[in-house]
Amino acid sequence: MTERKTGIYLCGGCGIGEAIDVAALEGVAKKEFKLDSKTHACLCGDDGVAMIRADLEAGINQVAIAACSSRVMTDRFGFEPIQVLRADLREKVIWSHPANHEDTQALAEDSVRMVLTMATKVKAPEPYVEGEWSSRILVMGGGVTGLAAAAQAAALGHEVLLLERSDRLGGRALDSSKRLPHRPPYAQPAANDIGDLVASVTGNAKITARLGCTVTQTSGMPGRFVVNLSDGSVETVGAIVVATGWRPYDASKLGHLGYGASPDVVTGVELEGMLKAGKVTRKSNGAPVKSVAFVQCAGSRDPDHLPYCSSICCATSLKQALELIEAEPATNAYVVYEEMRTPGVMEELYRTAQAAGVIFMKGKVKTVGADLTVTVADELIGEDIPLAGLDMVVLATGMVPNSTNTDAPSPAEGAEQLAGDIDPEVPFPVAGYCGDAPAAHAKRPQAAPEGGSLLNLQYRQGPHLPVLHDGFADSHYICFPYETRRTGIYTAGPVRRPMDWAEAAEDASGAVLKAVQAVRSASAGAALHPRVGDLSFPKINLNQCTKCKRCTVECPFGAIDEDEQTYPIVNATRCRRCGTCMGACPVRTISFDNYSVDMLSSMIKAVKVPDEFSGKPRILIMACENDAIPALDMAGIKRNQWSAHVRILPVRCLGSVSLLCISDALSVGYDGVMMMGCKPGDDYQCHFVKGSAMAAERLSKVGETLKSMMLEPERVTQAEASIADADRLPKVIDAFVEQITAIGFNPFKGF
């Protein structure tokens, strides 16, 4: 590496110059780091930026800026490929602390010390770009979602390999009569246009469709997945969209609802087939169907069957009832429901069905007799109502995700991955609400979904895509819905959550955009969500590696495999750059070009810790860059004040924090350490899924170490932060400072 020449720039704008002594900061750089710095009254203005550019021309190769938060002015202070380091003097210093106060000045000086220390410990990352990269996208599943995904990916210029398990494209839509309304005014069932979608895919030269074909094995990483197919061929693809869809819940398990007792008790899917064929008659005797009852939630929202709502069965029954009435207006159609769930604009279809004379009864179906008498515990009348003399009973069964390959046996290994470690029933705290935590909740046991793995991933962490509690592919519904815990593999459609045709097609677009981003980022060596564009990747010094395997086990995304000698191998494009491996490594041999345990420790040690006679505690907060840092920035923007005795060190994820950082902080005299990051656990908000959970687990083991050092375990704590916590976090910080002050000073001060 060429000699490091860091240009240091201090900004006096936005009130910084009035609230703190910027000249003193220049003095810190000069005296302690032997570096010259430049101060500008408005660094982000054209003059200021021109000043930095002139210095870049003159040969500096790294820029350190002490001005506003690193989250703002990134365009003004972006000098690619030169690395820019930022110290925040505005949001987290002058906006959140009193002006012209010695503690605020000390805080600003420490911010400069931290960034200048950082500048000596990092280098501009060199991306991993070795080898060939494929931009082809593999789409698994030829139903609505898969076809839409293939068409979208091709429209974006990518070659597509489309796999379909059966011998025809179109999926379940082929067996459907009409589809749910998907265009304004959303009031009437719409024509089944799956034929158009199939034609657009089969006529597209960029899409290669293989029928009767499944995946037998997948290895590699985004940009170069090697996929073995059941037809014996081996293909290389850049990203994978899993659109394997759903299957109806097995109605033979619904004996209590009369299935099997009479041939005229049918499922919604069976009725759909009859409507598609154009002839709805009683299976028992071929007579016309004059009166019919739809039983909603047949096996759904039932802890003994499917505990969740499939969201489309209500609308589907409305559509089927309307189709029956359209064919024969005198048809007497009853819909027995517990709650009519018509998400979004599907409410319009509900109104149409009401106006058409469909009769709705609210209550739970108690029994369905062999004579088709449906007995309803009617909630609105308050008694059991027998609906007798029906010609047909339709059970609206729910959707089961095809997150496994049910044609294959369940594998002996890796089944625990499918047991689902996310509990959807955990009560969700409202973000930003400063109240008591919800009551503890016993996790409901649930069997792993049956079947083999879809992709048979040759990953250290097993062959499966991790799933949620109910068998749906694991993702974060709100923040990153298409991401799975295997980078470059995206789920779309009902394999991810129950959804209808139009939603599935929309979902396909979302997943394809993610897949396109994956293949394009892979070839550039850039990270994906949430550290989009990050060019660093973990490097392991194998000379020091003890083969403890913590990194391969703890990686939330299964990015690290093991070689024959069980040394870890990083698959760079699978990595999301959270640094959980770095935090896990007991010998600290994993680091990034611009992020390492050494860098964090050095920054911690760069802070001036006042002695016990000053009466001022010093507290370290390692704050997650995803939610905690922006929330603190917002607290500054709102001018919320917090103690000037804390020093905030941004980290990529709490998972990247090595326990060494904590022991270093305590040994140099910090009085307390707080880890501030996203909510861990079943209802995680961690952007790296497992990072804050890993931090919590490691922290749970630090108490003993502290006791052996004769330190109080309360000196180290973990705090949850969400993006909406701008008002809460200052209180959390102040409470911690108060608690530490009560405990007293760290006896290690001054050693």
Partner: protein, 205 residues
């Protein structure tokens, strides 16, 4: 509109709801009832009803024809129109109750014949049809004596102080009943209406 309601061969008759939707004045809107209960909550005399309008509508959907047509709900409605004004689905609740009452009378449900409200309605209609005006003395008299001579006398005497008070404050007069200016034309109009009614709904109850 001329189909009689389905005969209640059983307590729950699945065809009744659709018959109401198709044949009762306002029944097509009743199909849109979402059971919010605003009608029952708004009803000033809901406590005097066997079932509030909301529950009555649900009973119609469950096919409970006899229970519906013998319910006093049909007769205790005072036509204040709170429910009609407030219904978020614009169901004309009061109209539906009145039309169901007509069906109850036409089809001879005992409860309807014997109810106080039916007696009073008949007395009211007798006066209105005869004179084109209602006369308090005639309406109350006819209503009281519909229970029999003795009962009528008893009820009349019990309310005598009220009648005297009304006379004193000129709320009730003592002369001949008021009439509209041309009762002959009125009777012709009503005869024509009866003819249409008979044509559309069969024999009057």
């Amino acid at each position: 509109m001329n189909a009689p309601s389905p005969t209640p061969t059983k307590k729950y008759d699945l065809s009744f709801a659709r018959w109401v939707y198709d044949n009762i004045d306002g029944g097509d809107r009743m199909a849109l009832c979402m059971q919010c209960g605003t009608c029952s909550g708004s009803c000033p005399i809901g406590t005097q009803m066997d079932h509030g309008p909301r529950k009555l509508f649900m009973m119609i959907r469950a096919g409970m024809k006899e229970a519906v047509l013998t319910s006093n709900t049909l007769w205790n409605c005072v036509s204040c129109y709170n429910c009609v004004v407030r219904c978020p689905r614009k169901v004309p609740v009061a109209y539906i109750l009145h039309d169901l009452a007509t069906v109850a009378v036409r089809e001879g449900y005992a409860e309807a014949r014997n109810s106080d409200n039916a007696r009073f309605a008949k007395a009211f209609w007798w006066s209105a049809a005869k004179y084109g005006r209602t006369d308090e003395r005639l309406v109350t008299g006819k209503y009281y004596f519909s229970f029999g001579i003795g009962e009528g006398y008893k009820r009349g005497m019990a309310n005598l102080p009220i009648a005297m008070g009304m006379i004193k404050t000129k709320r009730m007069h003592l002369g001949m009943p008021h009439k509209c200016s041309n009762t002959g034309e009125l009777h012709k109009i009503l005869a024509k209406a009866a003819e249409i009614e008979a044509r559309d709904h069969g024999k009057q109850g």
